[in-house]
Amino acid sequence: MRRRALLGGLAGLSLAGCAPKDPRPAITVQRIFGDCRAHVPKGGAPTQNLNGECEIITGLLDRFEAENPDIRLNVNAVAWPGYDQLSAQIAADDAPDLVTMHMAVIPDYQIHGLLTPLDAGLKAQGVTPDQFTPVARRAVTMDGEVYGLPFDAWTQLFHINMNLFARAGLVRGGEPVLPRNAAELLDQARRFRAATGKPYLVQSSVNERAAFARNLYTYLLSAHEVIFPDPHHIRLNTPRAREVVGLFKRIHDERLTTRDLDYVAATTAFINGEGGVYIVGTWMIGNFDNEAAQAGRPLYRGYRVKPYPALFGDPVLPAFVDGHAWVMPKRRRTPEQERAAFRLLKFLSVHEGDWTRSGHLTSMAAVVGDPVYQAQPHRRDLMAITSYGQGLPTDVQRQFAIQAMLSEELAAAITGIKPIDRALTDAERRINDMLTNLS
């Protein structure tokens, strides 16, 4: 009996191998934002963290699959930022059809002819560049052609624990009191520490490859400093840069910030009410709102998010902006596959507003004026960033590598491992050595 069942099973398996080939065009989407299938059932709502990045994108791709049964969609979730894997795939001629890419990274791939221009395909689907916000359009356009579908704009922000701010007397008329200059920041941070016994800032400082660089970019751009005099040189050791790094060093020295935390630990610390202000990106807004809605949690009914305060009397408001886009690596595709990929791009552009529930800012001009978008939490505080936020020049290559090198040097300066002057000089030397040896 057992033998018969075994033989039957084997025969079944063999026959399964003879199943007819799926005639539908197959496309592969490669994305970051994590894997949360465990609590996002196919065709159902997430059972937790409704507005998380992962939950929204998983739901959107499921929905596309359900609404387009004539397309076979393979989804490959990779660890952030995913570029090592993508480069290896491109080198092995095994690139996915659509990939999430930071706008700042697009030039690296575009300049080597590795990306497909999207203008014609998008136009055929009714998506034109004039539908993007000006900042997003500039970031995805190279040599007059569009190489990415903008999916959002993001920036780093001051995420505030209002319950602790209230204890420190830093709430007025329901609004958090934020500093108007560097001296006021230090003063408020000291008052906060005295009143709550906790540090004012929560920061990720261990294994941190981005945040410190973004802080510096933010306050250099608001002063109209020219960070890249040309695409092969960076200029960092300036009085303003020393002033900005000096402020963060002082905050560290006076223990007005958390210390020795990595990204995960810093996020957990903020959620657990271990500090007043967490400097992190728009992508955490949905998660923190979720925390703020749960009774008994430290952030319950006590979470706000604000743009960086202007601390140095600058002519423009401070905001360093980048964004996520969808790009199409070059590879051989059938016309059916190409059409399927552009249909997915169209779907994503239509549902960009849903994606912004995560906290990201929109990159679509029509969504900016959409009452549904405007009614989302915190939008009134953040909307203006899409107009005054600034990015780095698109002709500067290796922006992620630059960010990592700069953050490493800045972390060393802020934590006192090396003097500020030397850290900025070292960062300049390392980055310029890389940029002048590009091939």
Binding site: Y83, L114, S205, V206, R398, F400, A404, A412, K418, N437
Partner: protein, 294 residues
């Protein structure tokens, strides 16, 4: 069979045919990439082509690169921290567990078990122990009223912490190699020494150590080559920080090649690492020969 074919046949050359499949794969997967890497190191090139011959410029650039020199020093220091400790500990454990008792068998398995873990699992475990936010040691320190020690974020502690983690992880194999060498030593020699009333130290120095010297050389050379290639532990625990204090050569090569796409420069750094490993692997053997002659 006459002529050159006959001569070849008499010398046993046709037997080489049996080794040919292995040699072909070896040449294809090891010799060719090695030579290609050497060629690449003489070019300015990125991941997707654009190669331009620049002679030894990459090598000159390496010796002016403070980040490379720091990574080189870190790698040397890491090997010096790991290999002697590994050899002494593994030998000590092998001597202690070289007996046919259940406890010894259990301990052998327990020590070897850590080597079975993948680097990812191992680093997750050690992060739970070393992390300053809620790590096991941090909890322990707080419990006795001491401040937590930032093992992974202090520039003076990051590399020694990685070395300690690596020793824990890598101890199993050298211990097994020593055990197998110890079990090759004939019992009769030890019995003769016992009749001569030799002390344990004399037995170790005059019998055990000379008998296991080949294993000692093998373990030292193997561990040197292995620890120069450390990558997973710093990549997953410290990302080479803080301030590059725990960035070894392979992590430097990876960052240069895959984050900065400077693949020709990364190839030059790889050749330096290759030379270093060759030297490190030959030094113990050379030392053994000199010792024998002396």
């Amino acid at each position: 069979m006459t002529g050159w074919l006959g001569r070849l046949n008499r010398q046993g050359w046709p037997n080489l045919l049996f080794a040919l499949p292995f040699l072909a794969v070896y040449a294809w997967l090891l010799i060719y990439p090695l030579l290609a890497g050497m060629g690449l190191s003489l070019h300015r090139a990125n991941l997707f082509g654009g190669a331009r011959f620049i002679g030894f410029e990459n090598y000159i650039r390496l010796f002016r690169d403070a980040t490379f020199l720091q990574a080189l020093a870190n790698s040397l220091l890491f090997v010096l921290m790991c290999v002697p400790v590994l050899v002494v500990l593994a030998l000590g454990l092998a001597l202690a567990l070289n007996r046919a008792t259940r406890f010894a068998a259990f301990m052998r398995s327990a020590v070897f078990a850590s080597s079975v873990l993948s680097v990812t699992v191992m680093t997750i475990i050690w992060r739970q122990i070393l992390a300053i936010d809620g790590g096991l040691l941090s909890h322990g320190a707080h419990a006795i009223g001491l401040p937590a020690v930032p093992f992974l974020s202090d520039p003076n502690l990051a590399l020694p912490s990685l070395a300690a983690v690596t020793v824990w992880w890598s101890l199993g194999l050298p211990m097994m190699l020593f055990l197998s060498a110890l079990q090759q030593v004939p019992r009769s020699v030890y019995e003769a020494a016992a009749l001569d009333r030799a002390t344990p130290w004399t037995v170790f120095r005059q019998i055990t150590l000379p008998a296991i010297t080949p294993a000692l050389v093998l373990v030292t050379a193997y561990e040197c080559a292995l620890q120069f290639q450390v990558f997973g532990q710093p990549q997953l625990l410290t990302q080479g920080g803080p301030n590059g204090a725990s960035r070894p050569l392979v992590l430097y090569i990876y960052e240069t090649g895959f984050n900065q796409w400077d693949i020709g420069y990364a190839a030059a750094a790889s050749q330096m690492l290759f030379a270093l490993i060759l030297v490190a692997a030959f030094v113990p053997q050379l030392a053994q020969r000199l010792w024998r002659r002396a």
